[in-house]
Subunit: 409 residues, 2 copies
C-alpha cells in the first residue's frame, strides 16, 4: 500500500492549493514554511497552478529590505466545483467557486419509499442541473462533481459497496450517475467529506488529529490523523456507528446488536422517544427531520420529555465519544451533521459533561469537543474538495479517477 511518487506529487500540489485557498494572498516562502516542502518544489507547484489558472499573481509583499516576495491568490472564478450530499432523507447539491464560496444550492427530498438507486440518482441529476443553471456558470467551467453517499464506498470501482438504509450492496453508482452527468465524478462517503470540510474550513484547520462525529440517520466518525484523512485499507475506516457499546443490546440495521448507531442515530433517538414519551407530541412517526426539529425546540424550551430523551441518548453518545477520545487521543472532536445541528448547544453541553465521566483524564484534558462551525452543508463542501483533488491529477478524467487513490490527502 505504498504511495507512488506520482501520488506524492498530486498530494503536494493539492496541499499547496489548499494552503492558498485557506489564506490568500500568500507567498511561495510562506507556503514552503507551512507545508515543509522546499522553496524550489513550491515554486514548481505554484507554476503548475498558475498554468491551470486556478491561482493568479497579485503583486508583491511589503518588504523590510531584501527582494520583494511575489504574492499569489486563489482565482475564484477559475473554475466551479459541485458537491453532492446524498443523505437518507434528502439530496443536497451546492456549487462552489474555487475559493469555496457557495454560488448556488438545490435540495430534493428523498421519501422513505424511494430506495432504488435510479430514484436517488434522479434526484441528484435534477439538483445538479438546477445548480448549474442557477449559478449561471458555463458547464465547461465545472471541474468536477464530488458525490457523497452513505455507507461504504469503493472509490476505485465507483460502487456503493454497502448502504444499510436502502439495503444497497455493490450498486454501480458512478456508472448510473455518468448517464446523467457529464462532468468528472468522484465518489466517497459523508464521513470522509465532513472530515475534509473541517480540515479545510472548520474546527480541524491546522490540527493534526481530529475526529468528526457525524450524527444523522447513520452515524460515523471521519478521521483526520497526522494532518490527513485516514481512509483505511478498504476506504471503510470510521464506522464508529457500528462499534458495539452494549454487548447484546438493541438490534442495529447492520445486523449486529448494541451498536452506537442503534442508540444515537436518528431512528435510535426516535425509538428512545417512543419508549420515554410516546404521548408527548414530539414524535412525528416516519419523519426523522420533523421529530428531531421538535426535539431541538423542546430542548430550548426545557420540555421535560425532550430533556429526558436527550439525556438518555447522551448516555450512549458520550460513552461512544469517550471511546474515540481514548483510542485516538485527538486535538478536537467535532459534532457534525443534521442531528447535531438540530439539537445544537444543549446537546453539546450534555455531551461534554458526560464524556468526562467515561474518558481517561490525560487524553480528555488534551481534547476539546465542539459543534461544527461550518455554516453551510459540510458534506457538500467536502465532496467538492474531492472534485478539486481529482482535477489536480495530471489527467483529471474518468480513467484516472478510478485508479488507486492516494492513501492520505
Amino acid at each position: 500500500m505504498k504511495r507512488t511518487s506520482r501520488d506524492i506529487r498530486t498530494a503536494n500540489r493539492y496541499e499547496v492549493l489548499r494552503r492558498i485557498i485557506a489564506r490568500s494572498p500568500t507567498s511561495r516562502q510562506e507556503l514552503a514554511a507551512a507545508t515543509g516542502l522546499s522553496l524550489a518544489t513550491v515554486a514548481t507547484l505554484v507554476g503548475e497552478l498558475l498554468d491551470l489558472r486556478m491561482i493568479t499573481e497579485v503583486g508583491f509583499e511589503d518588504s523590510a529590505g531584501g527582494r520583494p516576495r511575489g504574492l499569489v491568490a486563489v482565482h475564484a472564478s477559475g473554475g466551479a466545483l459541485i458537491g453532492v450530499d446524498i443523505a437518507e432523507t434528502y439530496v443536497r447539491v451546492e456549487l462552489f467557486d474555487l475559493a469555496l464560496n457557495v454560488l448556488a444550492r438545490a435540495d430534493e427530498d428523498v421519501s422513505p419509499g424511494e430506495s432504488l438507486p435510479e430514484q436517488v440518482v434522479g434526484h441528484v441529476a435534477a439538483a445538479v442541473g438546477a445548480v448549474v443553471a442557477r449559478a449561471g456558470v458555463g458547464g465547461a467551467r465545472v471541474l468536477g462533481v464530488g458525490v457523497s453517499v452513505p455507507g461504504q464506498v469503493d472509490r476505485s470501482t465507483g460502487l456503493a459497496a454497502y448502504a444499510p438504509n436502502w439495503d444497497w450492496h455493490d450498486v454501480p453508482l458512478l456508472d448510473l450517475l455518468t448517464e446523467h452527468i457529464t462532468h468528472p465524478l468522484y465518489l466517497d462517503n459523508p464521513l470522509r467529506a465532513s472530515a475534509v470540510a473541517e480540515l479545510w474550513c472548520g474546527a480541524a484547520r491546522g490540527r493534526g488529529d481530529a475526529v468528526v462525529v457525524n450524527l444523522g440517520t447513520g452515524v460515523g466518525a471521519g478521521l483526520v490523523l497526522g494532518g490527513g484523512l485516514h481512509r483505511g485499507v478498504s476506504n471503510s475506516a470510521g464506522e464508529w456507528g457500528h462499534t458495539t457499546i452494549v454487548l447484546d443490546g438493541r438490534p442495529c440495521r447492520c445486523g449486529g446488536r448494541g451498536c452506537v448507531e442503534a442508540y444515537v442515530g436518528a431512528s435510535g433517538i426516535m425509538r428512545t422517544l417512543r419508549e420515554l414519551g410516546a404521548g408527548s407530541g414530539l414524535l412525528h412517526p416516519g419523519d426523522q427531520t420533523a421529530t428531531l426539529a421538535a426535539l431541538g425546540r423542546g430542548l430550548r424550551e426545557r420540555d421535560p420529555v425532550a430533556l429526558a430523551v436527550v439525556r438518555e441518548t447522551v448516555r450512549y453518545l458520550a460513552a461512544g465519544i469517550a471511546n474515540l477520545v481514548n483510542l485516538f487521543d485527538p486535538e478536537v472532536v467535532v459534532l457534525s451533521s443534521w442531528v447535531a445541528a438540530a439539537l445544537g448547544e444543549p446537546l453539546l453541553h450534555e455531551v461534554r459533561e458526560a464524556v468526562a465521566r467515561h474518558a481517561l483524564h490525560r487524553p480528555l484534558a488534551a481534547t476539546e469537543i465542539v459543534l461544527s462551525p461550518i455554516p453551510t452543508d459540510p458534506v457538500c463542501l467536502g465532496a467538492a474538495t474531492f472534485a478539486l483533488e481529482g482535477a489536480l491529477r495530471p489527467v483529471g478524467r474518468r480513467t484516472l479517477q478510478r485508479a488507486a487513490p492516494a492513501r492520505r490527502l
Copy 2:
C-alpha cells in the same frame, strides 16, 4: 502540532536506518525507491549513518551494465541497545546489537506487593546491570535504553502519568531511573513498543495500517497508521482497554464500568474463571501467570472449564476487536503480549470466528487477524528501537530526549 524540519530530518534518518536493518545489504537507489526520498537526500543520510559507524560499505551490486551500485549494511557491532519491558508482574530486559539480535536477557519477578516506583526501578536497574555484564559489551557501546512502562507516559517530562495497576500518578520515572542508569533513557509504553516491534520485525512489516492488540494484565491497542506510529496529541492513543463495550458493565480499575479490559485483561479472565468454574483447579489465586498458563494447557487438552472461560472471554474480546476493525479498517490485527502467547492458536481460532459475527463485511474482508510472530519479547524489541531513534537525533543526550517528540516515527 506541526513537525519542524529537524523532526523531519531525524525521521528520515531513522527511516533509512530502519530499511537498512530490515534488508542488508542494500543500495542507496533501493533505499530511495523504498522511502520515496530523493537519491541525493538518501546519499546524505547514508553518509551520516556511515560517520556514526552504524552502517558500513560492503562492496558493489552485480550490475547488468551501467555504473556499479555501492552496497551498505547494518554494522551489527556498531553499538548496543537495551529494551526494558516493565510489566505488572515482571521486568524483562534485553540487550540487542544494531541488527536487533538479542545478545543477553534478564528477568525479574515483580510481586503484587511491590507497587512503589523505587521497588520497580530497583528491578530495572538490576536487570540492566545483568544484561550489560552478560553480553560482555563495554558500557560505552550502549547507545541508549528504551523503557516501556504500562499506562500513560509523558515523553517530554519523563513522567509515568497514570499507571492504574500501581495507582501511579505523575511518577518521575525517568529521574528515578537516571539515579541508577547512566545511558540515555527513552520512556514510552507497551502499546507503542509492541506496535513498533511489529512494524520493524513482525506482522506489520511493509503494512500501512496495523493494530497491535496487547493482551496482558492491562490491555490496549498499538496503532500503526499511514506507515507510522499514531501517538495522539498527548501520547495516549490506543487506550482500547478503557473503551466501553458493556455500558454500565463490570467495574474497571480505571474507575469506569464495562471497559474491554474488565473482561479480557488477565484479572478479568480470572474473574470469569471464578464465575464459571471456581472448583476446576485452573485458578491460582493471586497469580495471573500461573492461572493463564493453566488455562492455556486446559485449552490444548480440551478441558471444558478452560474452553468455557475462553469462549466467554472471546465474546467480549471479539466485539472489541471488531470495533477496531470497523474504526481503523487495518490491513492486519496482531494479537500480542503474554496472555495472547499463553492462550495461543486456540484463542486465535475462536477470535477469528467471533469477530466475523460483529465486524462489517467490507473492512473484515480486507484485514487478517494473526498472533504476533516475534519470537522474543516484542516490548523489549520496540523499546530498544526507541533508544535507536533517540540516538539518531543530532545530539542524543538527555536534554534533547526531553524535547517535544516527533509525532510519527
